[in-house]
Symmetry: C2
Subunit: 200 residues, 2 copies
DNA sequence: CGTGCGATGTATCAAGTTGATACATCATCC
DNA sequence: GGATGATGTATCAACTTGATACATCGCACG
């Protein structure tokens, strides 16, 4: 159900949980959730919305004018009770599908509505996934180091360091999750000093 | 010609320039070129190969057994003269299509066969592209900082720092490109010290 | 006032891609 | 002898993309 990508469904449900939205606005917010890469096209959004309406997880409200006279037929979508339930179910999932590349970002974007233990499981799952990848890339590099030109090598080195950097980031997030949440003097976001870099 | 993605075509031509390959091996190498994300499926590789054969840029050699008796019909693909020309054309391109997200990695993977001035243009183009993105993300963050929960904020902060890191990386690459290439005591890869990190 | 322009807004479609699947050969181990 | 898994070619329904069409709105410029 709901096409190939459960991620899109989740993102839509999550966004509509905050407030009802029409397609255009929904798409803009989805672009924010999915990041600068990977944009969502209407060709996948509309079918997804159609499915969600058909399944009864969301409802469309065609006559929703904003404040004055009928502006135009903007179909506004909102979560139904079933949709809220479904969203809670999805937010409770903490298997591999939650920490793969396509879904992790979306899952974390809705961490505010996610239980603390689930958050932790997902972060740890993501970390092992990346450590796995680091191992693979790293060993592939030592196997082929001699044969590669400097550019390929630079590319792989940069990729490897990106993975390592994300692992460190996850380590910090996990540590923050595990530490007691109410301590004094702690900001909303883990206050990392931006590691006083040399200017270029 | 050659479907939607010119990038795949370029990658195939580039790989076949090094040596003739059959589909399976080609796909493995493409996976390396395109990175751990974004894998190439046969559903796009085979049509691409078919196109390239039809256009006369590559040729297939069905009877190519490796060394002994006929193993099985492995169709081996190799570059034609036209294909080599085409590859040179593509490697000479240094417009936006060379430094967008989908193509930059592939372009850089074949930098060893690319002219120095073209390399520099692509690296600089990529850098402006990322600086542009950094500006957008950065200003979007300051506009919405108050409204966002810590997780969304962490996500965006991490994204922003990833972009900044890639810009620094490009700065180093560009500096290396501009400095005289034959200096003594320089390794194959720019010998960056891995920035003595605190352990955690 | 009109008219051109860009943002907002809904919707569709040809062309292209994915993930699964089918099928066959080969090497290795039990 | 047969089970398992890597190598290898190939296809297809279901799905996504990028382009396009179309309409409304605000608003600046002459």
């Amino acid at each position: 159900m709901s096409r190939k990508t459960g991620v899109l469904e989740l993102a839509v449900l999550g966004l509509l949980h905050e407030s009802p939205l029409h397609g255009y606005e929904l798409r803009k917010r989805l672009s924010a959730v999915f990041g600068p890469v990977k944009r969502i096209s209407y060709g996948s959004l509309y079918p997804c919305l159609k499915d969600l309406v058909a399944t009864g997880l969301i409802a469309e409200d065609a006559a929703a004018s904003v404040s004055g006279v009928g502006k135009r037929g903007r179909t506004v979508y909102k979560l139904t009770a079933e949709g809220k339930e479904r969203l809670q179910d999805q937010l409770g999932e903490h298997g591999p599908s939650a920490w793969e590349d396509e879904s992790f970002g979306v899952r974390m974007a809705f961490f505010a509505q996610t239980d603390a233990d689930v958050r932790l499981k997902i972060l740890e799952g993501r970390r092992s996934r990346l450590e796995e990848r680091r191992e693979k890339v790293s060993s592939a590099m030592s196997r082929t180091r001699e044969k590669l030109d400097r550019y390929t090598l630079e590319l792989q080195q940069h990729g490897l360091e990106s993975v390592e950097r994300e692992v460190r980031w996850l380590n910090e997030l996990i540590a923050t999750e595990r530490s007691p949440a109410g301590g004094p003097g702690r900001g909303a976001v883990t206050a990392r000093p931006r590691s006083a870099k040399s200017p270029g």
